[in-house]
Subunit: 366 residues, 2 copies
């Protein structure tokens, strides 16, 4: 049931900007806890046989759990999904690209209906608990992830070292096993040329900046993922507080720059936002990277009140909905890049013009 919902609808919890604080600038907050079972080798060394056993133990622990959150989850194993479906979960940020590359029956994800809680099983670690919420809610994500962690730990023996903390497949996660991150939309900081300076400062505070799809992804559309780099020697609470504090400072800088742009470059800003809207609502062929860059400009217009009638949540949904796997799912067929660019333009037009999206999607069959 959750699988159907998550595969066929685009909207998930983190896109609901109206439900998150500061969501004109902070798209989403995320906590990820990495845990491993002490009796099993790390996932990359698992055989099918002990992989299945590992999954079985995790599943049993989940089923035994009385925690309300855990009870809302459903298990999807990767062999139940085709590559396109797995990619849809990646585009929604519910599983990692690494996880999507596998179709093993002992790997999977425990996920709730709105995607706010997802537990990857046998990805890089045996268990990766992810809580993902709209706006600036790092503390809330941590509380939720921690409750799930506590509940699972009642019935599982996690690999833990008194000195080093939780043991993980990759040494950069040893300690808390925690990665806390926020996705920031910083167009005014970027337009003003301040992004590099800000992010150089940030690295001195044990933080790192990545693109829209996490590690190894480029920054596009002025979306910056800010996360903690250190997992050892800091408590979970310190990491949450620290990240929230740095994010709040950056949000303030973005606000200052937005106000400055509005007063000093009013017409240039209107021009930029207007052109983005004009191209997005009239192009017939559009690549993903061009569309994200233009949607970033449009979002700025929406968030500062220059454009009305479009919701931030609709733009969050659109960025994901126009991604390759979502487009192909919607069109009901595999498509090459050119046909995706055609269908993407149609999906964007329908969304932004507020038209019914019941029409047929036209691909170039000639």
């Amino acid at each position: 049931m959750h699988a159907d919902q998550l595969l066929n609808n685009t909207m998930v919890s983190w896109m609901e900007a109206e439900k998150g604080p500061v969501s004109d600038i902070v798209v989403s907050s995320r906590i990820r806890l990495a845990r491993n079972l002490s009796r099993f080798p790390f996932p990359h060394l698992l055989t099918s046989e002990n992989g299945r056993e590992c999954l079985k133990q995790i599943k049993e622990a989940w089923e035994k759990s009385e925690n309300g959150e855990l009870a809302t989850l459903e298990l999807i194993t990767l062999d139940e999904l085709n590559p396109l479906q797995r990619q849809i979960l990646v585009e929604k940020h519910l599983i990692s690209p690494l996880h999507a590359a596998s179709s093993d029956d002992y790997r999977g994800v425990l996920v709730n209906g709105d995607g706010s809680l997802a537990i990857m099983i046998n990805e890089e670690d045996h268990i990766r608990i992810q809580c993902l919420l709209p706006g600036l809610q790092v503390g809330e994500c941590y509380s939720k992830a921690q409750a799930v962690d506590d509940e699972l730990e009642k019935n599982l023996n996690f690999a833990f070292d008194e000195t080093r903390g939780y043991l993980t497949s990759c040494p950069t996660n040893v300690g808390t096993g925690m990665r806390a991150s926020v996705m920031l939309h910083l167009p005014a900081v970027a337009i003003s040329g301040l992004a590099n300076r800000i992010f150089q400062n940030i690295s001195q505070f044990g933080m790192t900046v990545r693109g829209l799809y996490g590690e190894g992804s480029e920054v596009i559309g002025n979306f910056f993922q800010l996360s903690n780099q250190v997992t050892l020697g800091q408590s979970e609470e310190d990491i949450v507080t620290h990240l929230t504090s740095v994010a709040t400072q950056i949000v303030e800088q973005e606000r200052v720059m937005r106000t400055r742009l509005e007063s000093e470059m009013k017409y240039q800003l209107e021009d930029r936002v207007g052109r983005a809207f004009g191209i997005l609502t009239n192009a017939r062929i559009i690549t993903s990277s061009e569309a994200i860059a233009l949607l970033s400009d449009l979002r700025l217009g929406v968030d500062i009140g220059m454009i009305s009638g479009i919701k931030t949540s609709a733009l969050n949904e659109l960025v994901v909905g126009m991604s390759p796997a979502h487009l192909q799912q919607k069109a009901g067929q595999e498509m090459d890049g050119y046909n995706r660019d055609l269908v993407r333009a149609q999906v964007i037009q329908e969304t932004l013009r507020g038209e019914d999206d019941t029409g047929e999607l036209t691909t170039d069959e000639q």
Copy 2:
């Protein structure tokens, strides 16, 4: 009266595409006859005193004339107009940039109310009769200009040499003193990369190609002005027939390329036209050269029926109406380039969105 009308309204005869044949490709046709009075030095050697005498004789000949066309003209001398007003006549193609540079009281223009007939007085030659009509009407232009020429010659003694024909200030005009031209809009030929090849061939036939504002102007927006280069050794009728024939062949090539683009690059064409429309109707700041390039794309969409609700004549009017002098006249103030770009974007939006253009034009006064 004519001056008021020509200065305050943008539309003149040649813009009325609906009234000219082949006007989806041929914007306008023009005949210009250069004549000089035998008793006076060429204009660049005129003193104020004999300049005034020269004007007086031309004026008397005009007033005596019984030709219907001549009776519809009114005389405007250049000292009656400020530089902005003279530039407005240049932008409408009614006088030349050279003429607009002068404010001498012995130079001027005899012009009718719709701008289809204009006689420059004491520009490069004493008399330059211009007939300018929409679409492919070179023959019609010539008939009209010739009738005016015949009528004036009854009361004026034109400098004429039995061997060489009409004498002119610049030797390239000696003979017929005639320049015949057509303004062609050739986006499909240009997109297909055929323009250079076509125009190289044309120069072998005694033709030359220029930009939107004639000699010395660059080709922008895929508008090409095709004219005869030779004025000596060919009859007026030959020149007219020859130009019409070459123009007709180019029109055919443009039609072939439009059909090919529509069938082979349908979506790319829709994308190009759509983006042009989207930017033009949403930009807040736009330069003249960007706007002309986009209006060229939009015009193609209108002319092949891809865009409805916009007339070709409205686009002809807009190209002139968004030119610097017209913009400043409309705004009622002198404006720098940046403010012109702001007001241009507003004028384009009003025209293409079909809104009332009664609103205030906003410039950046900060």
